[in-house]
Symmetry: none
Subunit: 207 residues, 4 copies
DNA sequence: CATGAATGAGACTTCATTCAT
DNA sequence: AATGAATGAAGTCTCATTCAT
């Protein structure tokens, strides 16, 4: 077998390569329908090696999800606090380029994985809530509240407005890795939709 | 074993009972992690009886999905065509109570199932697109175009507006049967959100 | 369902129809690979009806074999005893037309069935030996011994000579219902071979 | 568990051990009535290991038959061509010791297996015909034709004479592994019968 | 008598996990 | 550390047999 990298370097990269392979496969086939051996093969190692790094298939799933979600959505709160412009500009700044990036990243895959597997692994629910839902809602909710207080937005129900902003963005990620991955389904131009959607909701929010 | 109904009557109900049990279980655990025998037990029959009605576990999945989606979303087009009021009123009429009902129905579960399983059963993609995406998009798109033509709505990109309306409603259904089913996750008041979301987007659409 | 015969008559014929269907199917697929229901269907009755006549699939097998072998090969001994011609003529008379008939009959199928199933149902061995091997060997052995005593045949080992006569005839029956039933295999003209074979062996026996 | 051999060595022997166990069991019980696990146990491995080497029970059957028949009967043709003695001597040389060996070998079991299973696996028919029937018939037919041409044999129908020679030898193999394996059945002294049979038929062939 | 829906033991096959090398 | 042969629990599906109608 050809190894293009020195084995020291490969060894250190193993856990990451396994996580990548696992994420890809779990999103593609679902956790239960994915074979541990295929994860290993995609990562370029043998079945046994997988078990050197992760004690079980389930532990691998949890590592995959933790790895991609921890600390990813809890940043930027401080940055938002000191933003100078309007609430609408801040939301645009936070959401458009931020979620275009998410949409293209592995985090989009992780959303699919969480939605798909959370009922079999309920501990994922609190983890996901703590690492994703909570920080994002706190941040966006604060900005919307600030906009309402400043007379920039209509006095809407903040929680619902946050959901109106966010649910389509999450759904877009899910779609990309479920129906959107199938030739027979309609495609969505994600980047353009994110822009259009944020614009539309902001128009609805403004006085 | 107690049999409260004559077997003739039971027999006719079997396929439906099996479909109901299968939908419930597949949504709960995912298709691959669900055991055929548990579907049978939930339907109150034995393993063998399941195979009397469906030749394989996969055929059962397909029957579940077909049963709930066929013809459900292709109705109401004619009704919309002759609607007299404003485009906004028509959209509200179509979406709010319509999707509150969907949200409470088995169709919501089927959305979860389709998103979860479509990559393992790609034929679901074209089926879902034909039975759900296509009719809904055609209908909503037409109403929005009518609103734009009448000067009631701003000239937005119609496809994106449809997605802004629909993706959160679908995501809401998915959420109900994934994270929303877990105690540890945040809950969403679906009915109120549907109302608030449609209102918000319509506000964003109006001139 | 159309019943072309009065049900009284059909009822009386049931056991025979079931035996015929079972023989055909067991020879075609083997006992273990044959389904009880298919026997019933071929006999034109339902699965349940089969069990009204035979208590189990194995009982059906035993009935099939008994029915076709009992008393079929133990006849003709007396007839042979009073035959006037040469031993060779007697053998020709007994074997040629007699085994051409066997070759065309259900008995040929039963040979296949016995050979195929005897190791799973050892009681078949003694039954077959008593009803077929013993009578045939006694009869043919006697004729050969008479021919040797009369100076018509060379003093060969009688048991081996009987086998030289009989084994190809039995093998011919087996072939008809195994390889011979497959298009891809070579065919044997059974009737002509029986004639030629008996002639050849009798030539070998004669002084 | 005691493992007397290094696993490398064991591994290489696995396929052969499985083939041997499968042949034995399939001949004993028939293919359909044999359980894959019992094949594995007889080969000293677990159920799963069987599937490491053969992808299905049916593939195992085909491997068993191929393994024992391929190239076994297509040899010796050249040897026969340059034989110097009489046709009768050549036939005796080819058949007597040759088939005594076959009779004692696994090939005898394979004959039983082919006859028993060919109607469920029709691809066996062409395989058997190509690997066994064709080479043997060509070879024996040539020798008989040579004997007739040399005036050593009577001008008999060659194909029938070949069958008169061969069918009893094949039947003898079948018998050994069906009725002959049952205590309740009559036994045949195979080696002596082969000798006697070839002598008898050659006597019948000679002018 | 006849039916065929229902059952559940049992067979094939898969695959997560272990462990000797 | 890495491998991959081996295991056996578990899952899908079949089918002989039963029994209510």
């Amino acid at each position: 077998m050809i190894k293009s990298l020195p084995s020291r370097r490969r060894k250190e990269a193993r856990p990451q390569e396994l996580l990548d392979a696992a994420l890809e496969l779990f999103v593609e086939k679902g956790f239960a329908a994915s074979r541990a051996e295929e994860v290993a093969v995609r990562a370029g190692v043998s079945k046994g090696t997988l078990y050197l790094y992760y004690p079980s298939k389930q532990a691998l799933l949890q590592a995959v999800i933790s790895h991609h979600l921890i600390d990813r959505f809890s940043v930027g709160v401080a940055q938002a606090a000191q933003f100078q412009g309007s609430a609408a500009d801040l939301l645009r700044s936070l959401l458009v380029s931020g979620w275009q990036e998410v949409y293209d990243s592995d985090a989009a895959k992780v959303f699919k994985l969480v939605i798909t597997e959370v009922r079999n692994f309920p501990e994922l629910a609190s983890f996901y809530h703590r690492e994703v839902v909570e920080p994002v809602h706190r941040q966006l909710g604060d900005v919307i509240r600030r906009g309402i207080a400043a007379g920039e937005f209509r006095p809407v129900a903040v929680e619902h407005a946050v959901h109106s902003l966010m649910l389509p963005l999450v759904m877009l990620c899910l779609h990309r890795h479920s129906l959107g991955a199938c030739a027979a389904a309609g495609q969505i131009d994600g980047h353009r939709f994110i822009q259009a959607h944020v614009d539309l909701v902001l128009a609805g929010l403004s006085v």
